[in-house]
Structure formats: structure tokens, C-alpha cells
Amino acid sequence: MDKNRRFRLVGSKGALRLVIEQRSSLSDIINYVKIFFESNKRFFEGTKVVFEIQPLCDLETSFIEQLKLKLAKFEEIESFKFEDLDLTDKGVKNVESIDDKICFDKMPTKYIYKSLRSGQKVDFKGNVIILGDVNPGSKISAGGSVIVLGSLKGVVQAGILDASSIVFALDFDPVQLQIGGFFELSTDDSKDLNDNVVAYYKDNKINIESWKGRKFLIGE
């Protein structure tokens, strides 16, 4: 994902949050939201999300009204929340530091008792736990965390509705990894950590490190 983007969508606690960091053109924002919904079409099928607009910069009321009007046309959006932050430091901080702890129990969990083979796809609005491998050519889209008790070699899109989600695998080698809308592509000179690896989003980037036990989960 473009790190210099002036606005972005971040999933958080079951809602989608549109964070506008700098004033941008209305059509750019709408286009971005449109592409987001289109690329996750199957995921949003039949469900609706709460949409939060969170400006970090000065926006005129008329601009926000226009934005809301345009966004209302997306059938995936159930209701709006508008967080008018007075730009005190507390408010800004709140947006950037998405929870340190992952909140597994906020969402339902789906268990899959087989391997995902090339061409197979899983879409689920909550957490996904796979007791098997995720082979190259397969794809998982999850609202929450993805845990693979096997090797992970496919494409993972986790945390669509919650950027505090994690991706864990016993053998960690995904082709592409996405948490809460942030991308990480696998590189040829991948790090040596392949066993028991966890990935999470923090400090504006995806962190990939070896699993150090439950401490991470509860943020001790």
C-alpha cells in the first residue's frame, strides 16, 4: 500500500474506518473506497459494515456532507459514524495506536479441518483457523485473525474489519500478506524465520517475527 496516501481504510473492531490525513479530492476518496469494496466483493456479500469517517485534518462541513452523500450509495455500508476529533494530541494518538492486544473474541471463528489447495478460497467475516496447509494459489480473506497450523504459502488478507488482527503460521511463507489493508509482499530474500511466525500491524507497518508465546497476545 502506498505509504504516502493521504487517506486510507482501516478495519477496527468490526467497523471500517476511513482515515483522512490530508485534504484530498472527493473523487479520489470515493474511487478508493469503491475499489476496496470491489476487490473484496465476496467478503462483503450480504453483510454491512459501520463506516467511520475520521479526519485528521481540517475539513469543511460541506465536504464531509458531500462525502457522506456519495458514500451512502455503497450498499455495503450500513450506517455512518463521524468522529469529529478536535485535533488534540490525544485524538491523533488514538487513531495511530490501534490496540496492542488482539481481540479474538470480538468475532466468530471458523475452523477448517483440511488443507486449502490451489484455487480454493475462504471468505469469512471473523477469525479463521486452519488445521492444515494453505497451498500456493489459494486465498484467505478474513475479517479477523488467521491462524494456520501448517504451512502458509498462499495469499492472506486478514483483519479486514480489525487491523489489530494477527496472522500466525507454523511454516510462514505467504505469497502476499495483508493486515487491515496494509500489504506485505514476500521477497526472495525472505528472512530466515520460517517456523512459528506471527505477523501483526503496528506502527504503520506489518511486523513479522517469531512467536514468543502468549505474552504477545495479552500485551504483557
Binding site: 488443507s115 484455487g119 496447509d133
Partner: protein
């Protein structure tokens, strides 16, 4: 009631037709009655491998469109008395088969009553031809070579077979080069099995004799001296439920290895 087995791979050129023919030949040599059906409509090859090209008058499309009876379209093999072939049509294409898919199912059902094994040689790809072939099969044999591309496609195909409810699927690893595996330049059996996670039916070593035999219209499974022939014999026996050990490296490499070892010792 016989069994219907589909031989498939996803990727082309990995040896589906060769495997189908030799497996059919192997099972027939072991006393079973076998029908080989070519489902690769429009690109038929099985008749050539078997050397029966010139004997074909009617094909599967003729049967399906009612131009002949099934018995008229079945051709008996020249050498193995219990091996039969139902050829594909060369002038039709896969969509013609897809239109008459129910009729194809009836034919397969009828054939299963007549033969111990009905082996369907599936076309490459995962489209209509593959769908038709796998729709009516009880078991599947997935052929792959130790290459990442072929393994990836095989994985996709296994997923599709599982979705169709075919739970019994076996792997034939074709064109295996022991020397390359040993030098680390080719995926080894363990790698492939780790990715695909299905039961291994057999490994066929790379053998130039396969081409020679195919060009002559003979089945390599009938040869007791070629490595590939022996491999297909073992595969056929395993398919019949016999427990046959997998030969070790040294045995497979045969004479060449022995000479090398001798030179090294000398």
C-alpha cells in the same frame, strides 16, 4: 460392477495418456478386463499410443449421437486380449461432449457393468473435458512431474476432485530423475507429497524408451527390462490392492550406478 478411474493432471504434457495406456495394459496383463476411454475430444492420442489408430471406425461421439452401438465403437487391443479402447472423436470439440454429458454418464455406467476397470484419459486443463471425465469417476489418478508448475496444477486439480466428491485419489509421479534429485536440482518425492498430501501410487523414472515404445504403438508396461515398464507394472499391482514396495534409489539406477560404483572403487 467395475470401477471407473479418471487419469488427470491439470497441466499438459506430464504423461496422462502414457499413464492411462500403460496402466490399462498393466491391469489387463494381470487378468482384468479393462476399457480405456479417451475423453480428450478433438485431440485424441490414446489410439496412437496403443497402435490402434487404423482400426478405429466409430468413436465416443458416434455412440453418444446414436450413429452406432457402443459395442461397435469398442476396439480390442492387438496384443493384450482383455484390453479395449473407446476412442475420442477428432472432429468434435469439448463443448460437444459437455452438451451430451448425461448420455456420457449413461455410457460410462453401462461400461462399468461390462469391464473390471474403465479408465478415462482426461484432457489437460480444468474445463469442460476435465469436468466431463471426472464427473462419473469413482477414483482418480493424478499424474504430475517433479516440477513446481505441474505440482501447482495438480494441487488445483485435487481440490476440484475433492469438491466433486472423489475421495480416493492417488499420485503418479512421472519423469522422475534420480540423478537430478540427488544433486538437489529437482523436487524429490517427499517435497511433492508434502505439498499435495495424497497417497503415492508410484514413481515412473524418466526413460527415453517410453518415446520409442509410443512411436511404435507398443506399451512399455509389457517390457520387463525397461525401468519405466517395471514401474508401470508395480503401479498396476498397487492399484489392484497388492502391497508392492517402492524400490530404493540404487535399484532404480541399475546398471549405470553399478558401473559408476565399480569405477569409484577401482
Amino acid at each position: 460392477m467395475g470401477k471407473c478411474i479418471v487419469v488427470t493432471s491439470g497441466k499438459g504434457g506430464v504423461g496422462k495418456t502414457t499413464t492411462s495406456a500403460n496402466l490399462g495394459g498393466g491391469l489387463a496383463s494381470l487378468g482384468k478386463s479393462v476399457l480405456l476411454a479417451d475423453v480428450d475430444i478433438g485431440l485424441r492420442n490414446l489410439d496412437i499410443i496403443l497402435g490402434l489408430e487404423k482400426r478405429i471406425v466409430y468413436d465416443v461421439m458416434d455412440v453418444m449421437e446414436g450413429r452406432c452401438k457402443i459395442q461397435q465403437a469398442i476396439v480390442k487391443d492387438k496384443r493384450i486380449s482383455s484390453l479395449y479402447l473407446l476412442a475420442a472423436s477428432q472432429i468434435h470439440d469439448k463443448s460437444d461432449l459437455a452438451e451430451l454429458i448425461d448420455r456420457f454418464g449413461e455410457i460410462i455406467k453401462g461400461l462399468k457393468n461390462q469391464f473390471d476397470y474403465v479408465i478415462l484419459d482426461s484432457p489437460a486443463g480444468i474445463e469442460q473435458g476435465f469436468m466431463a471425465a471426472s464427473n462419473f469417476a469413482d477414483e482418480a489418478i493424478v499424474v504430475t512431474t517433479p516440477e513446481v508448475t505441474a505440482v501447482r496444477d495438480a494441487d488445483r486439480v485435487i481440490g476440484l476432485l475433492e469438491a466433486k466428491g472423489i475421495k480416493d485419489h492417488y499420485l503418479v509421479l512421472n519423469r522422475y530423475r534420480y540423478a537430478m534429485v540427488k544433486s538437489g536440482n529437482m523436487l524429490d518425492v517427499e517435497d511433492v507429497l508434502h505439498i499435495l498430501g495424497i497417497q503415492l501410487l508410484g514413481i515412473v523414472p524418466e526413460d527415453p524408451e517410453i518415446i520409442t515404445f509410443a512411436n511404435k504403438g507398443e506399451l512399455i508396461v509389457t517390457s520387463d527390462i525397461t525401468n519405466a515398464g517395471k514401474a508401470f507394472q508395480r503401479i498396476s499391482r498397487r492399484l489392484m490392492g497388492e502391497k508392492v514396495d517402492f524400490p530404493s534409489f540404487e535399484e532404480e539406477k541399475g546398471l549405470l550406478k553399478k558401473i559408476k560404483d565399480f569405477l569409484r572403487l577401482g
